[in-house]
Each structure stands twice: as C-alpha cells, then as structure tokens.
C-alpha cells in the first residue's frame, strides 16, 4: 500500500496530465456531437453580453452596408406585395409557390370549399424570428454564429436560420436570451439541397477553407449540371423552408471512375458581413416528425 502511494505521488503530475487531457477530450467530443446546457459557450449570458458590447463598436463600421441590404430586402418585399406574385423564388413569403399553385388549380377550381383550410395552414407553416448577429467567425474549421434571441423568444435547438441572402445554419444551443448557431461554414454540418433545374437531391458540406465556397455531394454523374445552376434547400428535413437559396454552382469536376460529381458551390450568403438573420420556426415540424417516426418505427 505504501509503495502504491509512493508510486502515485512520484508520478502525480503525469497522472494529473492524463486526467486533464482526458477531460478536455471528453469536452471536445461532447461539444461536437451533443447539445449542452448552454452554459459553457457563447450563448452564456455573460459571454454573449460581453460580445454584444464589443460588437456594438464594430457595428458602426458596417452600418452603411447593413442599411443597403435591409433597404434592398424591403424593396423586394414591397414589390412582392404589390405584384402579388413571386418575382423571385428566393424570398420569405412565397417559398411554397409550386405547391400553392398546385393547390390552387386543384382545390379552387374543383373543390372551392377545400381551399381555405389547407392553404392558410401552408402559408403559415413557417414563422420567422428576426435576430441580430452578436458574434460570427468564418476563418475556422468549425464556425459558429451567436445571435441575440434565445429561449424566451421561442428559439429551440435544431431550428433553421436564414438571412435575406440564403441559408446561415442551424441552432445548436440556446440560453434565455442568446443562441449559438452552427454555421454552414462548419465541416460537420450538412444541408439537404436541391439542384433547382433538375430537382436532384444532394447535400451541402463546407470543405473547411474558403468561406465563400462549399461542396455539393451526392450528385450522380448522369445528371446534367452546369456552372451557374441554382442550388436551393430541399425542405425535406423541415428545418429550412423549401426553396431557400443556398448558392450557385461555381465549378463541376467529374471525377474519373466515380459515381458522383465533385462540385463547388458559390454561397449566396456573404458570411463576412452577416448582421441580421431570421430564425425559422416550422409550425408543422412536430406533425412531420411524428409521422416520419411512425414509419421508421415500423421498419
């Protein structure tokens, strides 16, 4: 017993080293895969308020840019309101235009009494909570965005986040007043995407280098895809509204002997200048999830 204690004492710093390193690695693994209690990241109130303070200084330098963006978005929404029909597929109100058209054709002409219910539910499927970006990084392999809305504003983990220009990411952790978002610029973040022209399903994943480019995986080589093709969200997961802009194809490299293309996407969102975003609440999410869970349970 005495020799054991002596042994432990002699190597105490090595033991402490092993314990602290294991603890750190445990934290790293946990942080990457699970939601935490939101105390130990930038959604922490103290940390986030400190960031808000520093951000409010740098904000002044971006004011002009932000104003222009908001004005442009306003103009687009105005135009939409007046014309009453989608002038641009990438806007917040007419995401479901195809479906609505189909509904209209079927129900209005054939079953006028059915229109109101289904339509109004669809139109209200997505609610948007505007939020201000408090902190944002683009240069790391795993980037996060911190926003100034949290649990008390109805934000929950796994909600989607978009900006007027496109997809931003997915809520990771929330505290009462702040939320941390896993940015699209995160090497473990996948976004289910559609090539708009051919309706081919793929998935967007960032490659960890250029904040303006992302990769598009799983597009089989028999699909015709060209530079400039628009890539939008599929909406299958219920996180983002369908048809939200992600970007355009910047380069297509057919890999030899491979079943899939190697595609670069020019992200439509300028992550360098992210200032205001919308958190997407899918009001039909529970319905979709429970329905899909029944199917998976059956298998």
């Amino acid at each position: 017993m005495h020799s054991l204690l002596t042994f432990l004492y002699n190597y105490r710093s090595s033991f402490l080293f092993i314990i602290l390193e294991s603890l750190s690695i445990f934290f790293v693994v946990n942080n990457n895969s699970y939601h935490q209690a939101a105390v130990l990241n930038s959604s922490n109130r103290l940390v986030a308020s400190a960031m808000t303070t520093t951000n409010s200084v740098s904000e002044y330098f971006l004011l002009k840019e932000v104003n222009q963006r908001l004005a442009a978005e306003n103009a687009r929404l105005h135009e939409l309101m007046i014309s009453g029909e989608p002038s641009n597929s990438n806007n917040l109100l007419t995401r479901d235009s195809l479906r609505l058209q189909a509904l209209e054709q079927d129900s209005v002409f054939l079953f006028p009494q059915m229109r109101s219910k289904s339509d109004s539910v669809r139109l209200k499927q997505f609610a948007f909570v505007p939020a201000k970006v408090v902190d944002n990084t683009v240069y790391r392999a795993k980037n996060y965005v911190t926003i100034n809305k949290g649990r008390l504003d109805g934000i929950e983990p796994d909600m989607g986040v978009i900006s007027p220009d496109g997809v931003v990411g997915k809520v990771k952790d929330v505290s009462d007043h702040f939320a941390v978002i896993t940015s699209v610029l995160h090497t473990n973040m996948y976004v289910s995407a559609l090539v708009k022209r051919s309706h081919t399903l793929g998935s967007i994943v960032w490659k960890g280098r250029n904040p303006r480019l992302a990769g598009l995986d799983n597009i089989p080589i028999h699909i015709n895809i060209i530079n400039g093709d628009t890539i939008v969200t599929s909406g299958y997961s219920g996180i983002y509204p369908p048809n939200t802009m992600i970007g355009t194809v910047a380069a297509v490299r057919p890999e030899e002997d491979a079943a899939f293309y190697d595609i670069d996407i020019d992200l439509s969102n300028d992550f360098y200048q992210l200032s205001y975003v919308y958190v997407v609440k899918n009001l039909l999410r529970n319905e979709q999830d429970s329905l899909e869970n029944i199917i998976t349970a059956d298998e």
Binding site: R12, S13, S14, L16, F17, L20, E21, L23, S24, I25, F26, F27, V28, V29, N30, N31, N32, Q36, L40, N41, S42, N44, V47, A50, M51, T54, S58, Y139, R140, A141, K142, Y144, T146, V180, T187, N188, K207, G208, R209
Partner: protein
C-alpha cells in the same frame, strides 16, 4: 509558486484573457494567421512554478478561452499539454550555471535568443494541437499546417513585442 506571485499573476491572467477574447480574437491576417496571445501568460509563469500548478492554470486558461471560441475543450487540451511539456523543456534549456531564483522565462530576463528557442516550439505545438483537433483529423493537412505555422509567427511576434512594450524592471515578479 508562493503567494508573492499570486496577485501579479492573477492580474496577468485577467489582462491576457481580456486581450485575447476582445481584441486579438478578431485579428486574422491573410485568412490564415491567428493569434493566441493568451498563452504568454502560461509561457511566462515563473520557472520554479510546480508542474501541477502550471497544468491546472493551463486547464483553467484554456477553458476560459474555449468558452469565447465555442471550442469547448480544445484550447484546454493544448494548454495542458504544453504545460506538461514545459518543465522538461525548461530543464533541457538550462543555461550554464542554472537559473536564478524567482526568474521568469521572459526575453528581458533570459535574452531574446533563449526566449526564441524556448517559446517558438511551445507555441507551435500548442497551435498544431488547436488547429488539428479543431479540424478533427488530418484531412486538410497541408492547409492546417500552414495555418499553424503562420499563426505561430503571429503569436510569437505579438507576445515578444508586448514583453518589450511593457516596461517592467528586470527580474521582477511579473
């Protein structure tokens, strides 16, 4: 480390963490060179500080920075590692005649050449751990390696410049 060091080191800790998370966090050169100036606090702990104290301080410092970087555990792991390696490294670099009592391993006290040999490998190892753990593998090896190299230069320059700007009398407790 006795209580004589406690107050100045506590001030150092707070100042370096604040400097890191509020100012240096936003400094990125050419999209690849980052600066983790806070490790100056760990590098400049007194030479006779016990390894256990150093590791615990490294762990605490790392976690404090991690909270602001949303990289929970990564900086802690890197700091604990360099703090564990530190005493062996300091022992290997012992100048002829040994170290004076109560000396800090700073460029002013030990000379710039000694400091380069002491600090650059420590900073480099720390940055390699930080960047490779963050990427989660060796997938982007070349790019990540360049990032670590550029960041090492950036961090080292800032750490050294701060040491020369802040005028503390030679061999002070700071």
């Amino acid at each position: 480390m006795n209580s004589r060091y406690l107050v100045p080191q506590a001030i150092n800790f707070v100042v370096y963490i604040l400097l890191q998370v509020f100012i240096v966090r936003n400094l990125v050169i050419f999209d690849i060179a980052f600066c983790f100036v806070y490790i100056a606090f760990l590098l400049l702990l007194p030479i006779e500080a016990a390894a256990i104290t150093c590791m615990l301080l490294g762990f605490a410092t790392g976690l404090a920075v991690d909270i602001f970087y949303n990289t929970f555990g990564i900086h802690a792991a890197a700091c604990v590692f360099i703090m564990y390696a530190r005493r062996y490294w300091i022992a290997a670099l012992t100048p002829r005649g040994g170290y004076d009592m109560g000396i800090t391993p700073s460029p002013r006290a030990m000379g710039l050449r000694w400091f380069i040999v002491y600090a650059v490998p420590m900073i480099f190892v720390h940055h390699m751990i930080v960047f490779f753990v963050e990427v989660g593998g060796f997938g982007l090896f070349y790019y990540t390696f360049i990032k670590a190299l550029a960041s090492t230069a950036f961090t080292f320059i800032l750490v050294t410049v701060i040491q020369y700007i802040i005028h503390t009398p030679r061999r002070s407790v700071l």
